[in-house]
């Protein structure tokens, strides 16, 4: 059996070489690295400043008003939570299905899960007018409210995903602890010792850790599906035309997976370039992920089509008004067109046909998909809010149309910066390629489903 990634890693003795090689990236950071972290931190601090201003002066300094009571914060919330659930779905299905070729991608997917969850969840809190009363959610929580469902689902998901991320790190921490000649500071060495939990690779430890992986993966998949469906029902449970849709649960889950796979490709590309990981994140990976993306494009297109066609065919007054805004270029027509082109047509042509497919084109298309899916989230949140049952008869333009203020813009950008920062730091602590996982390729003794790589 020949496995694509294992040119250098298909034997036990080679794996410590692999760790040695990859651990070079973890050694005492360069000045450039510190500069990079400093820049990201400053952007994050701008966000903190914006948040403080918002708390001090109230939400009047945001673009939100009556009617469009939610805006870009909620769009970001859905967007980032979607990425998070997708990362969880991808990494856990790879784990459970024993998909060997995907092993180098596992850690990136898991980091996507945790980083976007940490960054995404607070966005719904930024919508709160009274952040000082946030503990009321626990003190007076009502289970009838979809917000309470989300509080429970997200906190559960966070615990599971952080645990899973940690479990998948333990063996690498043990390797780093044992690695001779690793040039890192003393506290880092100590950190590895503590975090490795005295893992020595005994058969029993191996077995238990393996079981823990599988159990967590098996739990996280349904958790992620349920959690994102619950999130979609924040909208689906509403009477509001454009929100009240029975398709929202599965639609959101598919959208999440779609955006998550696209982001995975982008981050694969970034690490491949910046860390010179061409041997581990190969052309094959990009191609396989692109196939996945094509499948998801079709699934997404199908859901989107069935959502709009049923509303359009019925021509109810409310929905016609809303759909009219989506086709009117002076309103949301432009955004909608962008979304449709880059989530449905471009991926099918560039990724589905062999002539345009390359690592760079796949990544570029993925970037457009991620942006277009953010736009889609914006289109889910804002236009229905601007289309209430009683037509708005307000003369104040900001009460009729939502437009984001500098506060919301700053907090959005700093959220992105925080995700990059988490990735920057996390990949300095442990290699972005799960070394110990690659070791397992050979002795995946009891696969549930073996992904055949014959002839690869």
């Amino acid at each position: 059996m020949k496995v694509i990634i294992l040119k250098t890693t298909n034997a036990m003795e080679n794996s410590s070489d692999l760790m040695k090689k990859l651990a070079r990236n973890l050694e005492t950071p360069s000045r450039q690295w510190y500069m990079w972290v400093a820049i990201l931190s400053i952007i994050v601090l701008f966000g903190v400043y914006a948040l403080i201003r918002q708390i001090q002066e109230g939400q009047f300094i945001t673009g939100m008003r009556d009617n469009a009571v939610w805006g870009i914060y909620t769009a970001n919330f859905i967007f980032f939570m979607g990425l998070s659930y997708a990362g969880a779905l991808v990494s856990c299905s790879f784990q459970l299905l024993r998909i060997q070729w995907a092993k180098p991608l596992l850690r990136i997917a898991e980091l996507i899960t945790v980083s976007t969850l940490i960054v995404g969840a607070p966005y719904i809190l930024f919508c709160l007018g009274r952040l000082d009363r946030i503990h009321y959610l626990l003190m007076y929580g009502r289970i009838q409210s979809p917000i309470t469902w989300d509080v429970i689902a997200i906190s559960t998901d966070l615990i599971f995903c952080v645990a899973f991320l940690y479990f998948t790190h333990i063996r690498d921490f043990a390797k780093l602890r044992d690695l001779q000649g690793l040039k890192v500071s003393k506290w880092r060495k100590k950190l590895y010792t503590v975090l490795a939990l005295n893992y020595r690779g005994t058969p029993l430890q191996k077995k238990y850790l393996h079981q823990a992986h599988d159990i967590m993966a098996a739990i996280i998949i349904p958790t992620a599906v349920i959690a994102y469906s619950l999130l979609s029902w924040l909208f689906g449970m509403s009477l509001k035309p454009g929100w009240h849709s029975t398709i929202f649960g599965p639609y959101f889950v598919v959208t999440a997976a779609y955006s998550g796979v696209a982001l995975l490709i982008i981050i694969m590309w970034l690490y491949r370039k910046s860390r010179k990981l061409e041997d581990y994140i190969t052309n094959k990976h990009f191609n396989y992920m692109a196939f996945g993306l094509v499948l998801l494009t079709m699934a997404y297109g199908y859901f989107t089509f069935s959502e709009y066609i049923t509303d359009w065919y019925n021509q109810t007054t409310q929905m016609s008004t809303l759909l009219g805004k989506f086709t009117d270029i002076s309103q949301y027509g432009g955004l909608q067109l962008f979304h449709v082109i880059f989530t449905m047509f471009v991926p099918l042509i560039i990724l589905g046909l062999p002539w345009f497919r390359s690592i760079n084109s796949i990544t570029l298309v993925s970037l457009f998909i991620v942006v277009a899916l953010w736009v889609k989230r914006y289109l889910i949140v804002v236009p229905p809010l601007e289309t209430p049952f009683i037509p708005i008869q307000d003369v104040r333009p900001e009460y009729v149309y939502y437009s984001m203020s500098w506060v919301e813009m700053t907090l959005t950008i700093s959220g992105l910066a925080l995700i990059v920062l988490i990735f920057t730091i996390a990949s300095k602590i442990a290699p972005i390629i799960p070394v110990a996982e690659l070791e397992d390729v050979e002795d995946a003794s009891k696969p549930i489903i073996r992904f055949s790589t014959k002839g690869a």
């Binding site: 009556d66 009274r130 009363r133 009477l239 007054t317 009683i390």
Partner: protein, 325 residues
């Protein structure tokens, strides 16, 4: 439950003690009974014995609510969640009488210490179909029996009371605005800015009076239960110069606009009263009488408006369809 038991015990104790030496209590009950006989309150059907000033023991109807005793302080905090027992508040709006005088809005804003850009009730210009004449449509909170806003509140800051009223507790609200997205009638508003200064001290806040307001929370029409306790109509009903807004009690089967009091059920029956967007299943408690045989041309309501506002209404008046504006 515990509280109620205690209250009952206390009542029984007082009741038993009354016939012996209850002259002091009789003095205390005096205003309540007087008010009751004036038709303000409702009797619970129970009889109690009191001592008159002549020294005679008589049996009278027991007033069903302590709060009928002056001064009728609106309850604070969780006490405001119960509602006034035996009441079932309801509103009827006669669309044939509304001419967009907007006095209801002014009265409401003044009474609740709102800033001029905060409208708990609003008057919309409606046009049901391309052929029909536009009409003015005052819209306050409908105090639904199945309120979507209450359903979605994560902290129970907005709640439905047994007297039909849906209130917001500003001390509980976390400002998530989920109720605003849930309300199909765009009734709720958010305090984006610091609210105007109020004479009412913060600790005197009652969800029934909704004053003083707080920043970062949701507020809305409260049906003025504090005014009902005093035997007054809500600000909008008493403020309307046309008498278009009737307020009353379904249990009493009476609604009043301040000048005339009508039988609620007969009024709805005769004038074919309807509830706005009733098909959503929210069971509103505000009824509309269709704008037929109008007292005014709707155009008279356009006179005092700003050019921008007129522009908004122009789209509605000329629009092929009321939604496509």
């Amino acid at each position: 439950m515990d509280k109620n038991d205690k209250k009952n015990n206390r009542r029984n104790f007082l009741k038993n003690g009354l016939t012996v030496g209850g002259s002091m209590l009789a003095m205390g009950m005096g205003p309540a009974i007087a008010k009751d006989s004036a038709g303000e309150g409702k009797s619970s059907g129970e009889k109690i014995k009191v001592l008159t000033t002549e020294g005679k023991v008589i049996e009278v109807d027991k007033p069903e609510d302590d709060c009928k005793i002056d001064p009728c302080e609106p309850p604070k905090g969780n006490a405001a969640r119960q509602g006034i027992p035996g009441r079932s508040f309801v509103m009827v709006i006669d669309l044939a009488r509304c001419k967009n005088a907007r006095k209801c809005i002014e009265g409401c804003q003044k009474g609740h210490n709102l800033s001029p850009d905060q409208e708990w009730l609003n008057v919309y210009l409606m046009k049901d179909n391309p052929e029909s004449e536009p009409y003015w449509f005052p819209r306050q909170c409908f105090h639904c029996d199945i309120p979507p806003c209450v359903k979605v509140c994560p902290v129970g800051a907005t709640y439905k009371r047994q007297d039909n009223i849906v209130l917001v507790d500003s001390n509980r609200c976390i400002g998530c605005k989920f109720c605003m997205t849930a309300c199909p009638y765009s009734v709720r508003i958010f305090n984006w800015k610091k609210p105007p200064e109020s004479d009412v001290a913060k600790e005197d806040y009652s969800p029934e009076s909704s004053v003083p307001a707080q920043i970062g929370v949701v507020s809305k029409c409260d049906f003025c239960p504090d005014r009902s306790r005093e035997g007054k109509l809500p600000y909008c009903a008493s403020g309307c110069p046309m008498g278009a807004i009737y307020f009353g009690d379904k249990n009493e089967d009476a609604v009043s606009n301040g000048t005339e009091t009508l039988r609620f059920r007969q009024l709805i029956k005769d004038r074919v009263g309807y509830r706005y967007l009733d098909e959503l299943g929210t069971e509103p408690n505000v009824y509309y009488l269709p704008p037929v045989e109008r007292m005014f041309d709707y155009k008279s309501g356009l006179n005092d408006l700003s050019e921008e506002k007129k522009e908004v209404y122009k789209n509605i008046i000329e629009g092929d369809h009321p939604q496509n504006n």
